[in-house]
Amino acid sequence: MKFWAVRFGSIGLAVLVSFGIGMIAQGSSGTVSRLLALAGLYVTLAVSLNLINGITGQFSIGHAAFYQVGSYTAAFLASILLSRGVISNLGTPIPWVLVAVATSLVTAGIAGLFIGLPSLRLRGDYLAIVTLGFGEILRIVIQNTPQLGGSYGINSPKAFVVPYVWMLTFLCVGVCRNLLQTAHGLSFLSVREDEVASSAMGVNVTRVKVAAFVIGSAFAGAAGALLTFNEGFINVNSFTMDVSFIILTMVVLGGTGSVTGSIVAALTLFILPEVLRDAPAMPLNAVLGTLAGIALLVGTIRLAMDHKGLGRSIWMPKTYIGIGIAVAGGIVVSVLANCLPALANRTIPSAELRMVIFSAVLVIMMLLRPQGIFGVRELGLKSFFRRANA
């Protein structure tokens, strides 16, 4: 009894929060509303890729392909409905949106099945190349298929999907979290840890890998369908390799295998560039000096951390000397840069600066915390992620 009360309570809460976010989106500008939808979609993409990459350990770097399959399925369905006069150009009614999402879930799941099958034979970098290739082939095929809009793209009537985006996000997170709490989830993790040992323990490695691909890509497909109705227009440029890499970066940054990590990293990596959009232009020499200083500082801390393994604190005299060198080095670089005619008195516009900062954050993360923000741990409301996979 209590079990079902908690269950329906949490589902109700998730629906309520989704509609809450929807109301915020409705009350704010078009840009904010769009960002709220995209944030949810990216969290879904990251969490679903985490199921394949982090939890099952299958290195897939073509997640945008499944996103694309879903998105185009929905757009194609909408164009059929439009031509039959079922929906009008003014907008897609929500029931039809949900039908499209369900269809996309299935088509992307089938695509995942087809990509999951070769993964039985391949591992590591080889699988990565296959998934990458699949994404690129799909994109180029669609680009050259006039029926799917070719390189122009497809228009589909818009719908206000923000609440549904977040419901999908909660569903995806919920499914992953549920899985990790059961023996089934452990069988996924065991495949990541050691395939030979898992099969010797009776885990059907083949089935686990395919299941991970199907579930992960189905969620990406559903996210794609919602993207279609949120944007009202899609083309292949929304599904380039960059998108796959951003999603992959979110998973790695969050800590492969950690659901919470994927969520936090997805939100951070999505919001960071948006916030930095308004950053002021900076003098080039100052930027170079700062970067040099940070590089030296990160190097110092990394070295200190390596020594810490020997039972020392990282705050030893050498660390302070390193920090001093980092500060001095930064100033020296900045002054020197201003002396070079080619570099002097130039500024970096904010649009480019944000990519510099973005990259620097990633490099720093990988040096100082290669296991990701959360490592393999989970964090959350008391029992929400209580015992995940560590």
Partner: protein
């Protein structure tokens, strides 16, 4: 004479020109403690890999409970009732000690993946059941205190015991132990010997083990087969093996 639980009948496997296991034939009776020994590279682990379905024999048959199991994939062999440990420990390092054993029990899991995804009461109960079973096995293997630690953080001897606990969780009839005492100090291997005996006496398991620690094998096993270069060179009870000229030659060389 009961029917053998495992029989190798002229089992042979060839990798290119190398015959790793050559015409090996032996029967193991239910409830036996059976030893497989031989110098490095004799083909002992390959025998294990043949039995557990990692390799398919080039010729000959492997029978488990009277049924031919050649070429059946490892996860199905495990389900039939053969579990193994590995020479170079293969635990799920990043997972907890308890979870390692839970995964061992997963093959007798009764729920489907959708129930787990929806976290239905059936899936929760099943997971709880596997967890209880795993905990009980950790008690047997004297690892209960470490249940929540990371498997890779365990000291070497305990990792080996955890592998046995994990294999036991699959509820096997036949347990294959690949060098269970490797890297253990005398006290640890003494304890392990008692544990393995307990697995047979209290749990009715049949045990086939590979071991280089002669004291361990001679004290524990009831029958022994000796392999060298893939071929059987001797078989018998420990006393016979100890003084068998071929065995001494294989281990110590011609001059002795």
């Amino acid at each position: 004479m009961p029917d053998p639980i495992l029989s190798l009948q002229n089992a042979t496997i060839q990798f290119g020109g190398l015959v790793a296991v050559d015409n090996v034939t032996f029967d193991i009776n239910p409830g036996e403690l059976f030893g497989l020994i031989g110098p490095n590279g004799a083909g002992k682990t390959t025998c294990f890999n043949l039995v557990t379905g990692v390799y398919k024999p080039t010729s000959g048959n492997i029978l488990f409970k009277g049924k031919v199991i050649n070429g059946i994939p490892p996860h199905k062999v495990a389900k039939l009732g053969i579990a193994r440990t590995f020479q170079n420990i293969r635990l799920f390092g990043a997972l907890s000690v308890l979870d390692n054993v839970v995964i061992g029990g997963f093959l007798r899991n009764q729920t489907n993946i959708f129930a787990s995804m929806a976290y239905l009461p059936g899936a929760i109960r099943e997971t709880e059941r596997l967890r209880d079973q795993a905990m009980a096995l950790l008690e047997v293997m004297d690892l209960a205190d470490e249940a929540n630690g990371r498997a890779s953080d365990l000291p070497y001897g305990k990792q080996r015991r955890l592998e046995i606990a994990r294999a036991m969780a699959t509820q096997p009839d036949l347990l294959l132990l690949d060098e269970p005492a490797a890297g253990m100090n005398p006290q640890e291997s003494e304890d392990l010997m008692n544990t393995v005996r307990k697995l047979r006496d209290d749990f009715g398991k049949t045990v086939l083990l590979i071991e280089h620690d002669m004291k361990f094998v001679m004290n524990l096993c009831e029958r022994i087969v000796v392999l060298d270069h893939g071929e059987e060179i001797a078989r018998g009870v420990p006393v016979e093996i100890r003084s068998h000229p071929e065995v001494i030659k294989a281990y110590l060389g011609e001059a002795c």
